[in-house]
Point group: D4
């Protein structure tokens, strides 16, 4: 076959391999999904589409496709972490990436607090959420435009902040390059960054931190 | 000679030509300065250095060089505008550009309010200045790093905000490209932007707005 | 719901929030539009399309969609500013962005003077408009290609010039990057710049200046 | 004065403000250092140089300058976290950034495990360290060239991996842009990234994670 | 006619001209294919599509189109080289480029060993192939994401490694720019690189090396 | 109306204004075409399409559309220059741009020599054309890929060489950026360059040179 | 020796090889200069420095070094062309490149008209030169900043315009990239462009055009 | 110590580790050199300088520093390969990189044929070397400017061509980016590319090919 599934990933990393849908045919996705699901009792595809969903449901009928987040999942996720992952977004246009982050985090066992549309141009909206923001164990900040929200949040909390730039914008936004660079040069120390639109990666990193919190310092 | 001084600029634009020092020899700067000073009773060089200062003082002894802002000026500026120009900066590293803006604005006839080191990672410091910020007629926001300050200020005021990205930084900051792009894609409507490190240009634009306010709608 | 409308923006900034249509679903646009319209008696969507127009008219039947400017508006705008906003464009291909600027300015209460197709390759056409150009209170210069028009206008007037690069072009134009950079490095002092194709932002900035002129120096 | 020190940062974030040395004069650094040290009993400057060290020692004689990491510190850091922070580097040329990360982490209260010169071109050297790698609570991977080490480490552990690209290289390395982009598109899920050469930021993020581990899920 | 076929290429280089399909009309491809096939008894089109296949089969009915690799070929290729060309790929998404390389290599007379889906995030999968990897005469490494596989393979073998970055990815991947730069700055000495998605070019270079091995040192 | 036609261009420059079709509606193109045709007895649109052709033929029935070059023309061009313009292209994929150059040159009054598919990888094909190349008064070199043809031709002739990079390619070709930069840094002195795919501009510049030759030195 | 001088260039191109000084040692420059001078009775080095001048004068004592243009020449140039080459510059900072162009053109046999400091921000200064501008046989436009001068000149004349972007500037000027792109996308048809700071290349191209004018259409 | 020397590299790859001098202190280079020399009886540093040479000679007195190539070596290299490696360069300015390639190749056991200053602007100089070019087993093409030489050579031979772009140039050359991209998009099939200025890497790759030729197909 074309693919070598990395079954050992769960024991090495704590979580099984997740399928990256983009650039794969529906048949390939279906076949890999089935193998992962048989092995681990759960499986997930990111950047999926309707055709992949149908291919997968041919072999794993309980699989569910969520069009906003473009996640295709089966099996799941007892809630196994105590603290919350907060997912913040700057505007409505970032919804798709924010949901990819939020739903991935849920699927990986986190309780998720959604705090959306709190862009810095209306600072009072954001400050009204100060308490909810401070209660999270890990924070994921999803923002397009200039990505300023990550710096502002980074300055407010004593917990890890993972920034996700998004690709919705135009002109000097360069499909997310601008918030990416902006987040990398944030004036708030300790903000770390994942790839443009990579809500999945942010949620994965957040879950790894949650895992470290739960298992304590070795 | 090598240069044609644009004497008509003051009548066309309201302000005389200003000399761009970079890339010129001290002799050239001295000669152009003298001609402008004779014509207008005042003259200014941006991006000047000590050698230019000496060359200019050979012909216009009252010329003054300010090493932080790198401005070299003679003659001046009755205070002729009523409102204030606020110059805000995110951090101490932006001081040089902020001072180029502030001193240019003063030289062009503005009262200047300096509000420095109010970067968004310490939001309370910034909010403590809310009143002073709202009182300005025009605001110049000078910021390096990710330039988020421009968006936050843009969301707080009903007056023009001119953003100046600065070149101090490293890595993904790309000598100011990042705050430049960030300011251009600001989520706060109506923020306009000038070139990286162009404190002069921001102050010039602010003065043109002040001139429009003073002369009223034609 | 998914969005937090920033109702306080009108009191903070002088103008209510405007909806950025790109990347939102028609349902989202309809719902936000309704809430803004109920609150302020007027609302606007930029980068709208026909489907959004239909969704909005389901809740606000008097909403009007303008396909050239892609603006969707309801309610409006007593003319409340005295001076004129001039919108200049270099060529016919910039029409859509120029109209976004012109119609936004009108919706925000300005009288607009349209001076189109006056690119610098035919300088006499431009010079023939010299009087109309000098009469404006604020000038918006919309240009693709190399964006040279902004520098030429900047050299002719004693009023604020806001430059808008446009994305129509090819090759080394890089979808508007070239006129953007060109306008940022203009040899005419005091030109400020907004994002590529951001006619809305230029008109918003112009209106804020008009507001400053009307309210005088505080 | 020129700067507003953010004294409240320690209570908000858990750690006091750290001074970014680049672009500041020795006098500015000395003055800010003194104020921070008086307030918190400790202070740190990154990207410092010998002249800053002298200026600081004039006011805080116990301050220590480390030329490899370019850190200037006074006061410190009881070891207050249980687990270890591992700092890995790909080659000898990354030493300076790796030490900035390691010494910052130590100053912030971590025990640090240094695992240097384990680039992927000699895989067996790296695999020989597999146990030490798995024992860390948080991992910082410092790499120049193509930055491949981050992906390999990310695939081996169940703990957070923070990647730091470095600027030593030439040609298509573009002063660290290449490992930066490489780390952002890592095939190992959950790797997060900080700015080029930002060893400090990685150690800060690691310490924030350590703080979350120690304080548990709220 | 529009095209000058380079019939002498086979005698100069050892292999006949191959048609680059992209940007040509089906009619052009058909006409050039026919001339090459008449001259050499074999012909190949890269980046072909179904319409080109039909046009070519009108004149050379035995031509075969392979949709995954997008190769369109007729005639062939006695196996004339002794050693094997190994084609390695990091993930399933690189399949199309890997097959372009593999099938081109076969068409040019090589035995091909396909070692797919051995990305570095699951290092044990890769190490399990160590023997097969060491047996190849030439190795082609096809990888998207951050392209780290090339460095790891380069460190394991004493044979030429040709790296092919692929364009499948998103965000900071920049359509293959990231693995391209990454492979060019590989920490494994002696890795050489071809253009993004250029499986054909890699296989051609591998065959030229095979030709050098077979013909020995002159 | 929306457009100001620059009727004086013919007297200023020697040739009338030409319409840039891209980004204009068919109605706009039709209206401008009609005005130019009435004034000058000839008109041309570049980057036209079938819909524009129909719109134009509604008002100027004799207008002709050429789909390969995407030129839409009416009226013409006595042959008024003596020497020939040679148009060289490196490969078949450059045909569309080469024809835009060749047909524009013919429309502007030149005899055109087409020398196509003479890329440098088959040097003998090119050298076989050495005489025809040396006979031209002006040479236009159209090349995609790495654009090496411009340098080779520049080294062979004593007449002006105008280089046109083309956008057909993939990967590191960056839609023509690579041959553009390559031609700008040509090791053959005196090669000048126009924008990517700008066959029109090259032919216009060639005609201006022809005009200078015909009118002699003033 | 290390270099193969291309003695045949004069017969092929009309002008002998010129030495590119940058990156060569003084010894290399001296040796190549001597050989060229012996062969052609004249020689020139571009981008020379004082050390090269001394090395050359050791072997060719009559060689002259001009520090502004950085040209090092010996022998010369009867005036052999009839028309004039006009060299225009936008500002004083472009003087060095403008002089490289002007002196190269003189060395190659042209009468040169210098029209300096006529940037578009002071349009009347430029229009005052309209007659001198129209009299030239070929025009070289040297401009930094946004490079708008090339478009304005291109719209005024019926003779070839060669644009030279310069590297003096800062920020979004990107060492000349901005005027380069700007000139390539000029709205004035027929402007051709050479590399940033390549005054030599522009003068060479102008001389080739002059040669074509003198020798007439073949 | 700070470094882990990869002693096993010789058995894995056929050649011992080579020290990358840039970014290392003289002390570090001296210490690593000594360990490698003791182990293998030979050692090499690339991008070395005089200070490193002195440090190394303190421990390995027979070490030799070559300032043009910046190579520092001890021990060596019986000639163990039969065929020749040809190193071609386009101009004198590429000498340093060409010598890095040539001397590395010699140190690794190759006979080297130097064919310098054969840039494509003087094609006859190049064609005069056609026989020597065809006799090489592997060809290394070193070129700055637009890098066209690689394509021309690639079209002439039946042996592997490794292209090395160089960083000497200015403006649109972007320190070697232009020849790099140019070589990656070469119209000659089978050219492979190494990093800008990486003469070492090209010679290493050539030696690996020579090793494959000598050991034959396994
Ligand atoms: N720091 C600066 N940044 C941008 N433009 C400037 C600066 N200083 C002066 N200028 C403008 O540059 C022009 C003068 O250029 P020059 O003739 O070279 O001195 C004038 O239009 C000034 O308004
Ligand atoms: N075309 C536009 N370009 C830039 N900003 C806009 C545009 N249209 C609306 N905005 C701004 O976008 C914000 C609304 O974003 P959202 O909440 O996503 O609708 C407000 O700050 C608006 O002022
Ligand atoms: N300033 C310059 N910019 C671009 N090309 C130049 C320059 N000076 C000389 N040349 C060209 O560089 C080539 C000589 O290169 P070289 O053999 O390295 O001296 C000749 O073709 C010259 O025409
Ligand atoms: N000039 C060079 N360019 C690229 N790689 C090099 C160079 N010189 C040495 N290397 C490689 O760099 C690695 C050694 O790096 P380091 O451990 O930092 O000395 C080895 O894999 C060498 O083969
Ligand atoms: Mg909103
Ligand atoms: Mg501060
Ligand atoms: Mg027009
Ligand atoms: Mg090492
Ligand atoms: Mg896989
Ligand atoms: Mg062909
Ligand atoms: Mg001037
Ligand atoms: Mg030479």
């Amino acid at each position: 076959g074309f693919g070598k599934v990395d079954y050992a990933r769960e024991s090495r990393n704590g979580f099984p391999e997740v399928i990256f849908g983009q650039g794969k045919s529906s048949e390939q996705v279906g076949a890999i999904f089935e193998r992962l699901y048989r092995q681990h009792g759960k499986a997930m595809v990111t950047r999926a589409d309707q055709a992949m969903a149908e291919s997968v449901r041919g072999v794993v009928p309980e699989a569910v496709f969520e069009p906003v987040s473009r996640l295709l999942t089966a099996g799941c996720c007892d809630r196994h972490f105590v603290g919350k992952v907060a997912v913040l977004s700057a505007g409505t246009a970032d919804l798709s990436v924010a949901e990819e982050a939020a739903q991935t985090a849920e699927w990986m066992g986190n309780e998720v607090e959604r705090i959306y549309d709190v862009g810095v141009a209306g600072l009072d909206r954001l400050l009204a959420q100060r308490e909810r923001i401070r209660e999270a164990s890990v924070l994921i900040v999803v923002a397009g435009m200039e990505g300023a929200l990550a710096s502002v949040i980074g300055g407010l909390v004593r917990r890890p902040v993972i920034a996700v730039p998004t690709s919705v914008g135009y002109g000097a936004h360069f499909s997310g390059l601008t918030p990416l660079l902006s987040m990398l040069t944030s004036c708030a120390a300790g903000v770390t960054v994942v790839n443009i639109d990579n809500g999945f990666g942010a949620a994965y990193a957040a879950s790894i931190i949650q895992q470290a919190i739960r298992e304590g310092a070795k």
